[in-house]
């Protein structure tokens, strides 16, 4: 992200940015993938968290909650907090880890609530602080891998000892060493699974952690007893199992952290300071000190910090953040202006009507935020977990009874242990996160970033694609459509120093045609009208003539030529629409524009259906109506006015170049200036869905076969040590096929 497009939070950041630029390090902004870590939370603790007072006397605040592992964790936190006296609302978003809390300050404090969250085993922190990478997970993985490899070597010696029996004391040495090495693995490395299982059991939720914890406990418990009794152990399987599961969990956490960081980085877009005019003096004050009735001064190129009415001056205002339309509109005394819009030229004095959350932008952002805090579905593996656990226990009980009656308890015990060991759902637990990570990666590499794997998989069910026009199907920026060279030359001379988007388009077109820019003098920008000056000794005026036309006039006001500008269709729009249609998807263009303009644009992009003249609310209504008809709909848009439609669509995709707040509400973001990533996303989603289903089938098939073999008495530690990595390997290999499947589809489409 280029800092030029950013608002600085304070003068210090601006200075730091200047130093970075000055040192020629601009690429830091373009190439950083994460924001630099911030210092530790304030010493003041929870008192530093902004708390909003509500009308009924209660307080509201938002916190981040780290350590949410699954949808049931969210359930746990919400229910425990709502059972706490004084807490009236606790809403936790799994996707973002953000908790919205409402409480009665008379009976409980935010510190108490945060304490309760900590007591549940999660880490609350103030919103906006960077999440720390989970070092504990990395440490556990490292220790588990170290121990697993050593134990595996020791067991390899033990297994070869079956062919060429070794002395008893060496066998003892190997077994005891393996036990010592496995102890930290079972107790410390596997503790996240035990914590998850206990939290789940307390709340009567059987998720994936329960059968895993059961498996680990049985492996280690059996290892301990068997070592004491000089029997064979399964400790090599234990280390491998824990290491693989931790690796899967780490991949998952990494994907979620990146998505959360992307959302946080785009959240702040309104400037934090404004120039207040009081009694003739101008002072710079933070937005928080601004109130209704104040007058603020806004200069060219500046962003408005508050909603208000223009009391003096005129200028061209770009409302892209609100409307998604890049073309500025002229404003003068008496016009309403909104926070977040940018004054492209001119200068205005604005009487403030609303600041912060009361502004149009603030209210919309709050709505979008609510929509963004949607929960997440438990995965297929989580849904299977209860049945799986129950089935395992039943089979184990049957095996034990059967063998005990048939051959006695001494014979039945090791066979029952073997059943419980091979039933441990390692491959099942890995089947979803690995394939999802591969799918998210394949999609991200092609320019479409998804917030969660749920959103990516939702793409595969979509049968209707609705595209916003400006900024999505089109470039979203003005380009010269037609102009004569001599007109363009003079216009470019007049506009060469302007930052207005039309001016930039004219200068860019002149450069593209290789026209040298003439020297211009006496350039004067007439706010809201255009620019005048002299070129080649003659006076000229460039006047904006309404929709997409700029007129060049000579000194006496006669027309000398005109330049037509239009917002061009993206180069890859037609190809993308074709690719989508070849997948059996229906494509519709949704726009607030005139039907004729919409038709022209739709034809250029190869879209047959278009719905024109719809307001932002009507877009959302239209999307909802299609959903009610049973369609699964994807909506792609870039303006803040597309927010409601993005939120109600099954899958909402925002353009990273569009309004910042849409990115918050969308499920996915196209990171490049193109439409093609959309088609790539559909391919990745399809491949991901197939692989997840295949992985699920494979791991379940393994479990059924292995449990069957174990119940029949065919499984010993060596067989288990071969079978378990084999099943996990199958799942890992399956996940690695996602990228290859996407490539194959691309080759077929090309």
């Amino acid at each position: 992200m280029e800092a030029a497009a950013d608002a600085y939070c304070c003068a210090g950041c601006e200075l730091a940015s200047e130093i970075i630029r000055g040192a020629g390090l601009e690429r830091y902004y373009a190439e950083r993938t994460a924001y630099a870590p911030r210092p530790e939370p304030l010493a003041g603790g929870w008192s530093a968290v902004p708390v909003a007072g509500l009308d009924d006397g209660s307080c509201e605040a938002r916190l981040m909650v780290d350590g949410l592992r699954c949808a049931s964790c969210v359930w746990v936190v919400e229910n425990i907090l709502e059972a706490t006296p004084g807490v009236t609302l606790a809403h936790v978003s799994y996707a973002t880890g953000r908790a919205t809390l409402r409480w009665d300050p008379a009976s409980v404090t935010l510190g108490d609530i945060a304490g309760r969250i900590s007591a549940l085993g999660y880490s609350p922190r103030a919103l906006g602080e960077e999440s720390r990478p989970d070092r504990g997970l990395m440490l556990r993985l490292g220790v588990a891998a170290f121990a697993a490899m050593n134990v595996m070597l020791l067991h390899a010696s033990i297994y070869t000892g079956w062919l060429d029996p070794m002395e008893h004391r060496f066998l003892q040495l190997f077994r005891w060493t393996a036990l010592v090495l496995s102890t930290p693995v079972a107790i410390w490395c596997a503790s996240p699974f035990f914590a998850g299982a206990i939290a789940g059991l307390k709340n009567r939720v059987l998720h994936m952690d329960v059968p895993i914890a059961l498996g680990v406990a049985i492996l280690y418990g059996h290892g301990l007893v068997a070592t004491l009794l000089n029997h064979e152990t399964y400790l090599d399987s234990l280390g491998m199992l824990v290491a693989l599961l931790l690796a899967g969990r780490m991949l998952e956490a990494r994907g979620r952290r990146r998505a959360a960081e992307a959302a946080v980085s785009l959240a702040a877009s309104v400037p934090h300071a404004a120039r207040r005019v009081s009694a003739g003096a101008v002072e710079t004050v933070p937005v928080t000190e601004l109130g209704a009735g104040d007058t603020i001064d806004v200069g060219p190129g500046e962003e408005l910090a508050a909603d208000g009415i223009v009391v003096r001056g005129r200028g061209a205002l770009q409302r892209a953040l609100l409307t998604g339309e890049a073309e500025p509109v002229s404003v003068e005394s008496g016009d309403r202006v909104e926070a977040g819009t940018v004054l492209m030229d001119g200068a205005i004095l604005v009487r403030v009507l609303a600041v912060g959350g009361e502004t149009v932008l603030g209210r919309m952002a709050a709505q979008l935020q609510e929509a963004a805090d949607r929960g997440s579905e438990p995965t297929a593996a989580d849904r299977i977990a209860p049945v799986f656990t129950a089935a395992t226990l039943v089979v184990a009980a049957l095996t034990f009874t059967g063998w005990a009656l048939h051959a006695g308890i001494a014979h039945a015990l090791p066979i029952t242990v073997a059943v419980l060991v091979v039933a441990c759902p390692c491959a099942l637990a890995l089947s979803h996160p690995l394939a999802a990570a591969a799918g998210l990666g394949a999609s991200a590499r092609r320019g479409l970033l998804f917030r969660s794997s749920d959103a990516l998989l939702g793409l595969d069910d979509v049968d209707l694609v609705a595209l916003d026009k400006t900024g999505t199907v089109t470039e979203g920026a003005m380009a010269v459509a037609s102009a004569e060279d001599c007109t363009l030359r003079i216009a470019a001379g007049l506009e060469r120093h302007s930052i207005h988007p039309i001016a930039r388009a004219i200068v860019a077109e002149a450069a593209r045609r290789g026209i040298p820019l003439p020297a211009a003098g006496h350039i004067r920008e007439v706010p809201g009208i255009g620019v005048e000056g002299t070129v080649d000794g003659l006076g000229w005026r460039l006047r904006t003539g309404g929709a997409g036309v700029v007129r060049l006039e000579n000194a006496s006001g006669d027309g000398a030529g005109e330049i037509r500008l239009s917002d061009g269709v993206r180069r890859d729009a037609r190809g993308t629409v074709e690719a989508l249609r070849s997948r059996g998807l229906e494509v519709v263009l949704l726009t607030g524009d005139h039907p004729d303009a919409a038709r022209t644009m739709a034809d250029a992009a190869g879209i047959t259906q278009c719905v024109a003249r719809v307001t932002p609310d009507e877009k959302a209504v239209w999307v909802r109506a299609r959903r009610d008809e049973g369609r699964r709909i994807l909506f792609a848009g870039d303006g803040l006015n597309d927010g409601p439609a993005l939120a109600v669509a099954d899958v909402g995709v925002a353009m990273a170049t569009g309004a910042a707040s849409t990115v918050l509400v969308a499920d996915g973001v196209i990171s490049s200036r193109a439409l093609a990533p959309l088609a790539a996303g559909f391919r990745a989603a399809h491949a991901c869905r197939i692989v997840i289903r295949r992985n699920l089938h494979r791991s379940l098939a393994y479990n059924v076969l292995a449990v069957g073999a174990a119940a029949a008495g065919f499984v010993n530690p060596l067989v288990a040590a071969v079978l378990m990595p084999l099943s996990s390997g199958l799942v890992i290999w399956g996940a690695s096929r996602v990228e290859a499947m996407v490539r194959r589809e691309e080759a077929r489409a090309a």
Binding site: R27, E31, R32, T33, A34, P37, R132, P133, R135, M138, L139, G142, V143, F146, N150, M166, E167, F170, L173, F174, T177, L181, R254
Partner: protein, 44 residues
């Protein structure tokens, strides 16, 4: 075969030394950001 009795603890100890080094590296934050450093290298 008796050498094993001495060699095994030595091998495990050596491995443990590396495990401890790994723990130190993680706790000093060397594994916190696995995405940026490889790119930074390409920029120089």
């Amino acid at each position: 075969m008796n050498a094993i009795v001495i060699l095994l603890p030595i091998a495990i100890l050596l491995g443990a030394v590396f495990a401890v080094l790994f723990v130190v590296a993680v706790s000093r934050g060397q594994f916190d950001d696995l995405d940026d450093p490889p790119r930074r290298m390409l920029q120089d």
